[in-house]
Structures are given as C-alpha cells and as structure tokens.
C-alpha cells in the first residue's frame, strides 16, 4: 500500500484545526470576560484612575518600566511601587518631581516629565 498523505487532507486539518482552536479560544475568552468583574476591582475605576492610565500612556512610562511585568526592563516594576515607597503617595510624587533635567552623571535617571499637580495626583 503506497503511503497516503494528501495535500487535501493537510489543508482540511489546517482549516479544521484553526477553526477548532479559534472557537476554543473564544469560549475561554468569553468565560474570562464573564468573571473579570469579580476580579479586576472595576468598582474602584474612577475618573482619577483613568486619568492616571492616560498619564502613564502619554509619557510612555513602559519605555523603561514594566507594569505587571510588561514593558521595558530598564527601570523597576511599577505595579508594586506604592509598597516600595512605603505606601506613601507623597514620596512617589516627590520622587517624580525631583528628577534633575540634565540627569545624573554616569547613572540611569528618570527624565523630568514636568507633570502637573493634577497629573501627579492621578498618576
């Protein structure tokens, strides 16, 4: 018996397999979206938090930092920055505001972003 291995079958497996796993992925996505409200603390998602996200995005913070591990690996993770700064918002704000414009000789330094008071509170 000559071995049978047809292009038509390989094609069917590609299409069938792809559709199968796309459907499975959508099913899992559906479940995820359904349970997210119980997990993501969306009740606390205030205007101020949304503004904070915009500040984070419009200053390209993840060009250096990570947030939940995603971003660049040049500067520390920010998901835990509040804890690392002794749970003090003031300390974080002061740190951001005090970055020297010309940097620190020989060392990595965060740029001076000139955040407004409002941006600072939100961020």
């Amino acid at each position: 018996m000559s071995q049978v291995f047809t292009k038509a079958m390989a094609r069917n497996i590609f299409y069938g397999g792809s559709v199968f796993f796309i459907l499975l992925f959508l099913a899992l996505t559906f479940d995820t979206i359904k349970v997210l409200p119980e997990r993501d603390n969306r009740a606390n998602l205030t205007e101020k938090v949304a503004h904070g996200k915009a500040v984070w995005e419009e200053n390209n913070c993840l060009g250096c930092h990570t947030l939940l591990g995603e971003g660049a690996y040049y500067a520390p993770e920010l998901g835990n920055v509040y804890k690392r700064f002794g749970e003090s918002k003031e300390a974080i704000k002061a740190f951001i505001a005090s970055r020297p414009v010309e940097g620190i000789p020989g060392r990595r330094s965060m740029p001076q972003f000139n955040l407004s008071e409002e941006d600072g509170r939100a961020g």
């Binding site: 497996i13 796993f21 997990r39 915009a54 995005e57 419009e58 993840l62 990595r108």
Partner: protein, 472 residues
C-alpha cells in the same frame, strides 16, 4: 531577470527594509550602552525614546519586508502581473513617509507633546508597548495594509491560486485584522492587556508564522526544485501546528495580569507545544534541501533559508519554552530572560526570513539571472555568520544577566532592589554590547555584499551528482 516585470516593485520595499534595519540596530546599540552608561545621550534621547524607535523600526521594516516578499512572490505564484504596480509604489512612499515622520516625532518632541499634537485624547491608543505610534499613524498603517491586501488579493484572484500565495494571503489578512485591536484601549487595565496580546502574541506566534512558512516554502521550491505538492502539504501541516499550539498559547501571557488562574494551565500546556511548528520548520527545510533536485547557484539564500529554521527553533521554540511554564514564569516574568528570548526569536524567525527572501530575490531584481557573483555571496555569507553568531551571544549574555537578575532580585532569601541588581549584572550588559557591535559589523558587511563583485560573472552551480532512482 524577472519573470514578471511588476515584481520590480519589491525592490524599493527591500531597500527600505534594509535601511530601517540599520537604523534599528544603531538604536539598539544606543540602548545597550545606556544600560551600562546611564547618562549616555541623556536627556536628548532618553532610553524610552530610543527603545520605542528600536522596536518600532523593527516592526516597520519587517512589514516592509513582508510586503516586498508578497509583491515579489505573488506575481510569480499567480503567473500574472501585479494588479496595480502603481498603487504598490504609491503605498510604498506613503508608508515610508508616515514611518519617517513618526520616528522623527519620537525623536524631536517629547512623547507627551506628540500625543497632544496628534490628538491622542480624542481616541487614546498611544503609550502601549509596540503600539506607541500616534493614532493617526495607526490609521495610516491600516490604509496601507488595505491597499496592499487589495492589490495582492486581486492579483491572486485573477491568476493561478497556489497554496503558497493563499497561505501568505491568510497570514497577511490575519495581520491586518488583528492589528485592529490596537485601536481598542479600555480604561480597565486587565482588559487593555488582554486584547493588547491579541495584536502582539497572535501576530508573532500566530499569523506571522503563516507568512514565514509561506515565504520559506516559496524559496525552498525555487532553490531545491522539490515537487511543489510535497512542499505545500508540509506547509499546511506546519501552519496547522502553529495555530493549534499558538492560539491557546496566548494564555502564557494571561498568567499575572488579573485574568483567571486557569490560564496558567491552559497557557502552560499549549505553549509547551509551541516549539513544535518551529521544529518541524527546521526539519522541513533540511529535508527539502537534502532531497533537492538541483543545485541552485544562490548558496547564500540557501544558507539563510536553513538558518532561519534553526534560529527560529532556538529563539522562539527553545528560548520561549525556557520561561513559558507558569511556575518558571512566576520568577522570570519581565526580566532579562524575556529580553533574551525576544531578541533571538525575532531575529531567527522574522529578520532571517525577510533576509532569506531578499537574498533570493535581490539578484533577479537587479538584473542577474539567478544569483550574485561568488565574491558577493562570500561576503553575504560572512555577514550571515557574524550576525547569527553574535545574536546567539547576545541571547546567551542576556540569559546570563536574566538568571542572575532573577536570582538576586526575586529568588534569593534576601531579595535586593532592582537598581542594585542592575549594577551587579553590568558585566553581562557590557558583553552584550560588544556582541551588538559585532552584529553591526555583520550588518555593514551585509550591505557591502550588495556592492562587491558586481562586475564579476554570476556564480554557477555544480550539477548534482547522478543518483540512482532508488535514492532520488
């Protein structure tokens, strides 16, 4: 010598790809230096800006490469002229100018100002990794992609429909469709990240593998003379494996972003199998070459074709697997290990496949019969080895840095702060930078290979030794 004269539109795409590649590597070297000399070019080009340029140039030049590849191979596969060469050239300039303006925007004004100038508050999409482009640039990308798909699609429709061009088209359509998720940026961070991966992961571990497979299949058909039927059915099997493992494999990005815990299992299980399609691609390439029916004079292209299989398997397959299981990723997530994987995977899979098609097509695009002169090929092969070996070392050094970082910062009994650890692993960063310089030398040689031996005759291929039919 082109079979169809409209294939010539591929040439500017390839040239632009190489030019942007050089830019990408220069910025890579800047970044590498900033890792060890923190104030280098500060505040003129801060790290975040340089990184954005580095990664965005990569994506843009790979897209140039993919489009060039499509414009080159689709007419040949469809056995007809391109639907509209004029549209292809127009889109080339639009894409190039839009890309250049965006990069200039990154470099010349602060990012926040760029966001303001381009009206990011009207429809915020900026400031997310790899999707840093202003919203207007993103719209431009969609327009270019649509015009490109229209052009290629019409060509395929009116001509011969082969598996290679069909798979390429599916990959390119997938690329365009998934990019639309770049426009969805909810305020909810979990949802933002969830769908952001639909662009990033489903690109590089999904539809881009289709594009890669199609280009590799095309080049192998041309180089080896192996029966198209055989190559095409293996193409189907490989891309089937890619999607079977890769789609649910998205789950390995849903471990720690607030999504349900079951993703840790689904993601780990399926990504454990993600090396499979890349492994098959390697076996496939070597098998086809072993079974070749002719020796093609373009040995450099052959080297790239084999190299991309091996390096994609190592970079995407092995280095991906190293840190993809949830219990391992718990420690390694977002460390230099990720960077190591990213570098070799992108180089092995996508940089090298674009260089493969360029290597194969450029001689014809420049009026040669089938290949460059021997001298030019020798220089090109030197560049292959310099770039590839130095990329292996970049990856190894970053892996070393990553292991040490994970140990000192996360695993040890006495975890140390990020910046303290960064200083301790500085040696690895220096070595990475040295390897990066060698990579640049390889790239310079690559460019030189286009200019040497131009007046020399084409390389010729030794005919295959006669084999008995039983072995053939």
């Amino acid at each position: 010598m082109l079979q169809y004269k409209s294939q010539a539109v591929a040439k500017p795409y390839f040239i632009a790809a190489i030019a942007l590649f050089i830019g990408q590597i220069l910025f890579g070297l800047i970044l590498g230096l900033q890792y060890v000399m923190g104030d280098f070019l500060f505040p003129e080009i801060p790290f975040n800006v340089a990184r954005m340029v580095h990664t965005n140039l990569l994506i843009v030049w790979l897209l140039f490469g993919f489009m060039g590849a499509a414009y080159y191979l689709v007419p040949e596969e469809a056995e007809t002229e391109l639907h509209s060469p004029g549209l292809a050239i127009l889109m080339f300039w639009i894409f190039l100018i839009a890309g250049a303006l965006t990069v200039l925007g990154y470099l010349l004004v602060p990012y926040a100002r760029l966001a303001e100038l381009t009206g990011n508050h009207l429809w915020p999409t900026m400031g997310r990794e790899f999707l840093e482009q202003p919203t207007i640039t993103k719209v431009g990308i969609v327009v270019v992609a649509l015009a490109f798909l229209y052009n290629v699609g019409m060509t395929i429709l009116k001509g011969r429909k082969t598996v290679v061009s069909l798979v390429l088209l599916i990959g390119l359509v997938g690329l365009a469709v998934l990019f639309l998720f770049a426009f969805y940026n909810p305020e909810n961070l979990v949802k933002d990240k969830f769908y952001w991966w639909w662009v990033v992961h489903l690109w590089v571990e999904g539809v881009w593998e289709l594009i890669m497979g199609a280009i590799l299949a095309f080049v192998l058909i041309k180089l080896t003379g192996v029966d198209r039927e055989v190559i095409e059915k293996w193409l189907y099997v490989i891309i089937a494996m890619a999607l079977i493992t890769g789609i649910i494999g998205t789950g390995h990005h849903y471990f720690w972003i607030g999504t349900p815990e079951y993703w840790q299992w689904w993601g780990s299980i399926f990504s454990a199998l993600e090396p499979l399609p890349f492994f098959m691609m390697t076996v496939f390439a070597f098998n086809m070459v072993n079974r070749r029916r002719r020796n093609h004079p373009n040995k450099a292209a052959m080297l790239w074709a084999l190299g991309t299989g091996v390096m994609a398997f190592l970079g995407a397959g092995v280095w991906g697997f190293l840190h993809t299981l949830a219990p391992v990723n718990y420690y390694t997530h977002g460390s230099q290990i990720t960077a190591a994987h990213g570098h070799m995977a992108f180089y092995g899979a996508y940089v090298m496949i674009v260089l493969t098609i360029i290597s194969y097509a450029m001689p014809m695009l420049r009026g040669r019969e089938a290949a460059n002169s021997n001298r030019s090929q020798v220089v090109e092969m030197w560049s292959f080895w310099l770039m590839t070996v130095s990329m292996v070392f970049i990856t190894l050094f970053l892996t070393g840095a990553g292991i040490l970082q994970v140990w000192l910062q996360r695993y040890s009994d006495d975890p140390q702060p990020f910046m303290v650890v960064q200083e301790k692993i500085e040696l690895f960063y220096w070595m990475r930078e040295v390897a990066g310089v060698i990579f640049l030398i390889g790239l310079v040689l690559y460019v030189i290979s286009f200019f040497v031996g131009q007046r020399q005759p084409e390389a010729s291929a030794k005919p295959l030794p006669a084999v008995s039919p039983a072995e053939a």
